[in-house]
Symmetry: C2
Subunit: 245 residues, 2 copies
């Protein structure tokens, strides 16, 4: 960028000039993480996984979020985790739990857990990052998620960062990839406030584990309930609010 | 199994009663690793990845090896790593190097390196292992491979083991998955001798990076050259020997 004479260049943000691959699910968290990375100055590429999820309308949301953030390099990769079975999110034989109490949501590993999902997603993001010569992978794991899913916890992310430094050509050559988790320490309400500050349109995102054919949220699954509580605590209106019975 | 009176039961092998998911590429190494795990007493399931590799005949070999070892639970999962590009093994724009010297083969990271391949493969094997309640994942990385590919080195495997213990429901509940690398410390000749001792038919396996349409090896790529040298050092005949010009 050409500087005006006599005017100092503004300080470069941490990510300025770097490239980051963002894991974009179409949900609220990953969209916020992507908007954050853009503000930090990263050039963004996005990876969405079509993994046989029930909530396939998320992929349309991922496309819409990528377009809204100006991300032209967006790969939607089919990986049929449903071939393995074992989760309510990919296996039609397992029901998505509805209307659980807040206490129940926070306890144990839910049946909506997809086996090794974040390990698989981060591994594929690492592969894409390596082909793009990227400096970072951005994933929207957060404080709410890691109460239930083992592969959302900070110690899991730290172990993946260590792995990434050993797994790649760039890492071996002294340019390890950073795994960025900007939402790790935020509550759902704080995430929503961050996204609204960044001008993100949450109407483009979908969080429901069990939407109807038109992509409308069910309002009763854990994810709908966490989203509704988050918007309420943030004092904001959800543009994609679930109708409640 | 019913024991004859007065006759002690033979000592159980380490893997007896356990289940292992074997990454089966159709190549020589993974077939040997699978045969080893079967001898150790593991019930085997196999995972092969259809990742857009040029040497797609490997998948037919993987099917043949699985059948020969009596592995009924064999998943062939499409994962289009070619969508990312960046390797001679998946990208038609990059030529497979031929007739390199032994010194050149051992030096640096070759263009046949597939970005983050073993990270992706192990992550998917971890997902499959979790749905099967498996105790171990078996991968045929070896001493020859880790001279060139960063994700074949023992420190990479150790980092993945650490990740696996944090990534899964079973790991969190105190039953971490083992990542077994029975070939890690073996030369190609030692691997071949092990497989022959285990009764493995290497005619079922394919190692070539650039076979012809009928699946016949080129004889000139690094993998063909390492295989030929391995059989020669083992004092054995390769039933799938490459014709040499």
């Amino acid at each position: 960028m050409k500087q005006e004479p006599g005017k100092a260049a503004p300080p470069a943000p941490p990510g300025a000039g770097g490239t980051a691959v963002v894991l974009l699910s179409g949900g609220l968290d990953s969209a916020t993480a992507a908007a954050w990375a853009r503000r930090e100055g990263y050039r963004l590429a996005a990876l969405s996984l079509d993994y046989g999820q029930r909530h396939r309308c998320e992929l349309d949301c991922a496309r819409a979020v990528a377009a809204a953030l100006g991300i032209a390099d967006h790969v939607i990769l089919p990986v049929d985790l449903a071939a393995f079975g074992g989760s309510a999110l990919v296996d039609d034989a397992i029901a998505v739990p509805k209307d659980r109490s807040d206490e129940a949501i926070g306890r144990g590993i839910p049946v909506t857990y997809v086996p090794a999902r974040n390990t698989v997603f981060l591994a594929l993001a690492l592969a894409m990052a390596e082909t793009r010569g990227a400096d970072a992978v951005v994933i929207g794991v957060n404080a709410i998620d890691y109460s239930g899913y083992p592969d959302c916890r900070p110690e899991f992310i730290a172990a993946f960062s260590r792995l990434a430094s050993l797994a790649t050509k760039a890492g071996v050559e002294g340019r390890p990839l950073e795994i960025l988790t900007p939402l790790a320490a935020l509550t759902k309400a704080e995430i929503i406030r961050l996204g609204l500050d960044l001008g993100l349109d949450y109407g483009l995102t979908s969080s429901c584990y069990d939407p109807d054919a038109a992509g409308r949220p069910c309002g009763g699954c854990d994810s709908c309930r966490l989203r509704a509580a988050g918007f309420q605590a943030a004092g904001a209106i959800d543009p994609r609010a679930a109708p409640r019975g």
